[in-house]
């Protein structure tokens, strides 16, 4: 069980820059055997949260409990229960081979390499590293390196694993392989995993639960299927030629399910959430009054990305900036 309580971190500004409030009262828990995604755009504060969880950055306020051990006051016991793969590709010694990396980091986590043989075989098999066992890490593909980093984090059998952007910079195939392996690690070994990503598809693919972070604050924490359920209604995008008249605008905006997404010389785009199909008739009626010309009607897929943007919009966090992720 991982408990994060009211974490707060402000970085001092460098060379005259103002201080950066990177994390602001973040509280959540991850239960044993859960796979939770920490989702948020770049700069949201995910890496800072991860490093505070791992005891690599000292929080200004709040605490981290790893299976009950406080990361600050019972550091060494806490560290026995957690391993991490941090952002980027440098969690390994590049000049050591796959096997040597596994052995070295196991010892660093307090395991005797001699009692390791069966675990070694297990993880080499699990991550399909057997052919590369005597290859130096620097000579592996990016995907292989990432698999090795995760294997290295798992070899000491720490119950909790933290992965910062585990699929960043990987090709589609490697990314998919890692998603599958992480799900298996939870299903087959009961590991507790918390991963961060700015990629909605990773969370939708792998996680049961997501904690959404924006500008250092937590803006949502729920089961992924609940997030999808929340906006289960289909969304249609209606593109019309020209502008709306003032009466049309007022009539449309009085309907909760309708939003004007954009309006320009090229035309106007409305989005309509179809909780009740009757709403479409109402919309058509308003458009028909002034003979507005409908250019297209598209159904939008309901995915986590939409949900995410919608949540950000509702929380008042700038939906504009996040549109670039």
């Amino acid at each position: 069980m991982l408990k994060v309580e009211s974490l707060q971190k402000t970085y001092p500004g460098r060379r005259g820059d103002p201080p950066v409030k990177a994390v602001d009262s973040v509280t959540f828990q991850v239960k044993e055997g859960e796979l939770v995604g920490l989702l948020g755009p770049n700069g949201a504060g995910k890496t800072t949260i991860v490093k505070m969880i791992c005891g690599l950055i000292r929080p200004d306020q709040g605490q981290v409990l790893i299976n009950g051990f406080n990361m600050t006051s019972a550091r060494s016991s806490a560290l026995e229960n957690i391993s991490a793969v941090l952002e980027g590709n440098r969690n390994l010694y590049w000049r050591l081979t796959v096997r040597e990396n596994l052995e070295f980091f196991a010892a660093l986590k307090g395991k005797n390499p001699k009692t390791l043989t069966s675990d070694m075989e297990k993880y080499i098999d699990f991550f399909r590293l057997e052919e590369k066992i005597n290859v130096e890490a620097r000579k592996l593909s990016r995907g292989m390196q990432q698999k090795l980093s995760i294997a290295v984090a798992m070899i000491a059998n720490s119950p909790i694993l933290v992965l910062d952007e585990p699929t960043l910079g990987l090709d589609v195939q490697a990314s998919n392989e890692i998603r599958v392996l992480l799900k298996r690690a939870v299903a087959e070994e009961g590991r507790t995993i918390i991963l961060t990503t700015h990629d909605m598809s990773v969370v939708q693919d792998t996680c049961e639960r997501a904690v959404i972070i924006s500008d250092g604050r937590m803006i949502a924490d729920d089961k992924v299927h609940n997030f999808l359920e929340l906006f289960k209604a289909k969304v249609y995008q209606i593109r019309i030629r020209g502008h709306l008249t003032e009466t049309q605008r007022l009539a449309l905006l009085s309907m909760n399910e309708v939003a004007v997404e954009s309006e320009s010389h090229e035309g106007t785009v409305l989005s309509v959430r179809l909780e009740d199909p009757k709403i479409l008739y109402d919309v058509f009626a308003v458009l028909g009054q002034e003979n507005s010309f409908i250019e297209s009607i598209d159904r939008q897929a309901n995915n986590l990305e939409r949900v995410f943007l919608e949540i950000l919009r509702r929380s008042g966090g700038g939906g504009q900036e996040t549109a670039v992720i």
Binding site: Y11, P12, T48, K51, C54, G55, L56, I57, R58, R75, S76, L79, E80, I82, S83, A84, L86, G88, N89, R90, N91, L92, Y93, W94, R95, L96, E100, E103, F104, F105, A107, L108, K109, G110, N112, P113
Partner: protein
Amino acid sequence: MAKKLLLFKAFLKKEFILFRRYLVNSIGGMLTIYVIFLLLLGSYRGLVGGGDHGDTVEQLVVGYVLWFFMLSTYQDVAYTLRREAKEGTLEQLYMSVHGFGWVMGAKAAAGFFVNSILVVILLRAVMVVTGSTLNIDLLSIVPITIFTLIGILGIGFTVGGLTLVFKRIESFTQMIQFALVALVAVDPQSVWWVRLLPGSYGASLVRRVMIGGAHLSNLGFWECAFFIVISLGHLGLGYGIYRLCERKAMSEGLLGHY
């Protein structure tokens, strides 16, 4: 304690693997060090005009080899900290269950063994080429050298800590290797407070054994005790400075490569 031994073994294995795997680099580095010595020797003989000048060649031999040992030890700490911070493995070292102090201790001890081999080879080579005879009394030399190097670890921690916090001080750290030359060369016999500098006291004791033919028992209890206290003091001070830097690095998120 058994677990700390495992940690030490892991580092020892890693150091030896890397030494063997990059043998060409290792030998190349050694050759450079050896050639520099020959150049020094040549210019020295040119200056004093050949012939036998008593102990002075022996002074050069002992001073040079000791400097090399000190430099390697210093780099093992200072450069390791810098490189691992840059490459991202430092954060993994910090997540070790052993605690970072033990991790660096194991790393330094492992480095000592690998460096010792190089030092023995270098010493052999420069003794042969200069035809110098030295008193190789291991029982006296080894403990003195170990405590001399312990003091040098203090410098390594200080510089390593400072590079964590102030990433751009590389040119300053280059100068340390020249400072080490001075520390080996100065003679505590003439100015008493030189003994308080890291490395100097130990270097003079090593010279007394290897060139003067003294034995550890000739040095006397108080001298040895004083020497040990000074060495541990340097380590303590250096590690203390490192811990301060580490505090700052952990609060500003500088253990990684941000």
